[in-house]
């Protein structure tokens, strides 16, 4: 019954409901678009992102994996070091150059100690401050490394599928270029050289294609519902006010003959407050 009463009130105030729908529509548009005043324009927010991934194998010139006599432990240690190196500013600059992106557009994280208990992995205030600065970056890299494997996993995120694949592919290329430069400078014998191999091409796709639409719908529904919710008590207050004035006019004194005003007039009329006040 109360639902019907609320609908009745909203129908009586249909013009205000229409205004509410308009306000909700504007709010929904603003949630997925950015307004530029000079010059006036509406720019779509980046609500969609794509990811891509690839893997880097740390190997020797004559692959250590084809020969059972070779120990892979030194390669595992190096993979762990390279995974950390790839998040450093030097490596990010190399990746940015390789991918043709500005240095400060890329944020890199990882690798994380997966075997530690959660409370030891949780970020401290200092770590979190650094993370917050990088949260706005549209191009994101995350490196993971299992300490028992000479492999670094690369996960890239970018606004488009192509950009994500390009960013993921840039990481092994940048690492290879860096390692080869050191080897040349140090004249490392070929037999002792580390080889950076990419395990297949980077693959990826768009992750959240419909997010913008869903966000807009959510904002519209909540703003419109809030507007309607406010209309119901506003209607009751307005009626009470009118009732009080009517009582005042009729009796020549404030609040009517019994001194209790509009609420009582409402109750006598069998109406009263209808729920959302």
């Amino acid at each position: 019954m109360e639902g019907a009463q609320i609908l009745k009130i909203l129908w009586q105030r249909r013009l205000l409901v229409a205004v509410g729908a308009l306000v909700a529509l504007v709010a929904a548009l603003l949630s997925v678009n950015r307004v530029e005043l000079f010059p006036p324009s509406l720019q779509s927010r980046t609500n969609v992102f794509a990811t891509a991934s690839t893997q880097i194998l740390v190997d020797t010139r004559r692959s250590a994996f084809a020969d059972l006599s070779n120990e892979t432990d030194p390669l595992e240690t190096r993979a762990s070091v390279f995974a950390r190196f790839l998040t450093s500013p030097v490596a990010i600059a190399l990746i940015a150059r390789q991918a043709g992106l500005p240095f400060d557009a890329i944020e890199a994280q990882g690798p994380y100690e997966l075997n530690l208990p959660p409370f030891q992995q949780e970020p401290t205030a200092e770590q979190r401050s650094t993370q917050i600065i990088g949260e706005g970056a549209l191009y994101r890299l995350r490196f993971e490394n299992n300490p028992e494997l000479p492999i670094v996993s690369v996960f890239a995120q970018a606004p488009t599928r192509g950009a994500a694949i390009e960013l993921a592919a840039a990481a092994p290329a940048a690492l290879r270029a860096y390692v080869e430069r050191i080897q040349r400078r140090q004249h490392t014998p070929v037999a002792r050289q580390v080889e950076i191999r990419k395990l297949g091409h980077a693959t990826g796709g768009v992750v959240n294609e419909g997010a913008g639409r869903q966000i807009a719908v959510l904002v519209f529904v909540v703003v419109f519902a809030a507007w309607c919710m406010l209309l119901v008590p506003a209607h009751t207050i307005a009626q009470g006010w009118r009732g009080e004035r009517a009582g005042h006019d009729a009796n020549g004194s404030s609040g009517g003959a019994n001194g209790r005003g509009g609420r009582e007039v409402l109750l006598r009329a069998g109406r009263g407050r209808q729920g959302l006040g």
């Binding site: 019954m1 109360e2 639902g3 019907a4 709010a27 603003l30 949630s31 997925v32 927010r45 980046t46 609500n47 969609v48 992102f49 990811t51 994280q109 990882g110 994380y112 959660p118 409370f119 992995q121 949780e122 970020p123 401290t124 205030a125 979190r128 401050s129 993370q131 917050i132 949260e135 706005g136 970056a137 549209l138 994101r140 995120q157 992750v207 959240n208 997010a211 913008g212 869903q214 966000i215 959510l218 904002v219 909540v222 703003v223 809030a226 919710m229 019994n258 209790r260 609420r263 009582e264 109750l267 006598r268 069998g270 109406r271 009263g272 407050r273 209808q274 729920g275 959302l276 006040g277």
Partner: protein
Amino acid sequence: MAAAGARSSFVPDAGARGWAEVAARAGKVGGARVEDAWPRTRRPLPWLFAGFLAVIFLVPIKAIHLKVQLPVSSDFDRFFVAAIVATWAIGGLIGRGETVVRLRPRGWAAGMSAFVFVAVASIAVNVDRITNLGEWDLVQKRVALLVALVAVFAVVTLSLRVAELRPFAVLIAVLAVVTALGTVYEKKSGYNVFYAGAAAVLAPVASVDPAPTEADPDLNQGRPLITGPTKHPLSVTSILGMALPFAVVLAAVAFDPRRRLLWALAACTIVAGALITQRKSGLVIPAFALLALFMLRPRLLLRLAPYGIAALALAVAIAPGAFSSFQELGRADSQASIEGRTADYPAIVPDLLSNPLLGRGYGTLDPSRVDTDRIFDNEYLGEALQVGGLGLIAFLALIVTPLFVVRSVLRSDSPLRGPPALAAAASCVAFGVAAALYDILSFPQAPYLFLFVAAMCTCAASAEVSTGRRALPVPKGRSELVKA
């Protein structure tokens, strides 16, 4: 006057002989709706509410994965909430029309509305960040849970009748006793009856995760994991702590010593169920619930003091192990838990300073992402991080609003309103305390129960005005409204 007719059964009365007589007496003074009140009704909605309460107390909601998929979330509770909302909507559409208009106290929905609005605003403001960090899926799930919570609160508030408050209070206490007994059995046997029962009953339509129970872990593996029908010991402790005031109040207002003894035993069982989880919260939450009752109605609770002292002495004599929560305070892993909690405070500062008003977005806290997010053992900290200062205020308002709304009937003489209102208010306090001890909104049982008792608070403080000029007893201060 209607209120005068409902002379006190809140204070035990030798002349009265049980609920039926109270109802009959209330009926005599004009409470014509009593005869159609749950459980003596064919209306489906109260039965669904009762079923929902049973689900909260007996079913491992988060462990059930239904084979039917909904667009956003296929959690077991969502189907139940959808059924409640659908029944309410259909009832509204085809109903013959109520003869009673409920006058709810001002601002009953203020806390909930403010929280929902701030939550959505925080998402809208942070939409770039949320999508960029891939948090939208998580946000969607949390918003779906919030919508379910809002739906339960709204439908229960709009549909519950004053005459149904006491039966539902009894149901909550009885269900809590069953949960407590199951939890005690789980500790003693290592067998979780709730998970096993759900797996057996729901096998054709759902899969159920294995119970996380670890009744007697090795010393180096930390504390036992006694979860009852929930995913975490703190969650079962919370619902038991929130249900405790109902058993205590029912004991305090019982008509005869036998009934009082039974309810006192029920209260002891609930406390035992909370303590057996071996968490400090098992002690803290029930203690604050009792403290709240004592502060609201000290004389009423003092009446139960002899029972309390006797129960305490008996427990110490028979099962000293029941108070293992005390011993927990000194354990090394317990100390680590305290250190973990205190470490949350400095760690949250960068996020608070970067988004002080609306936070980083409702639902963006993901405990599984240990590299960026902390597991906050405090819902208030979690809310401050996700929905900022405004959201924290709204969350506090959500908890405080039922207390504010119900204050006028806490001391009501009406047997229909006073005792359930008192118990519901203390239950809300228990929820507020529990929220300071763990991330309470991550586990659905306690929030659902809180919103149900919040709805009970609103209902208790509402006046029911018959459009046919018949009226139920109303609290003091409101009776003049219906006199006309």
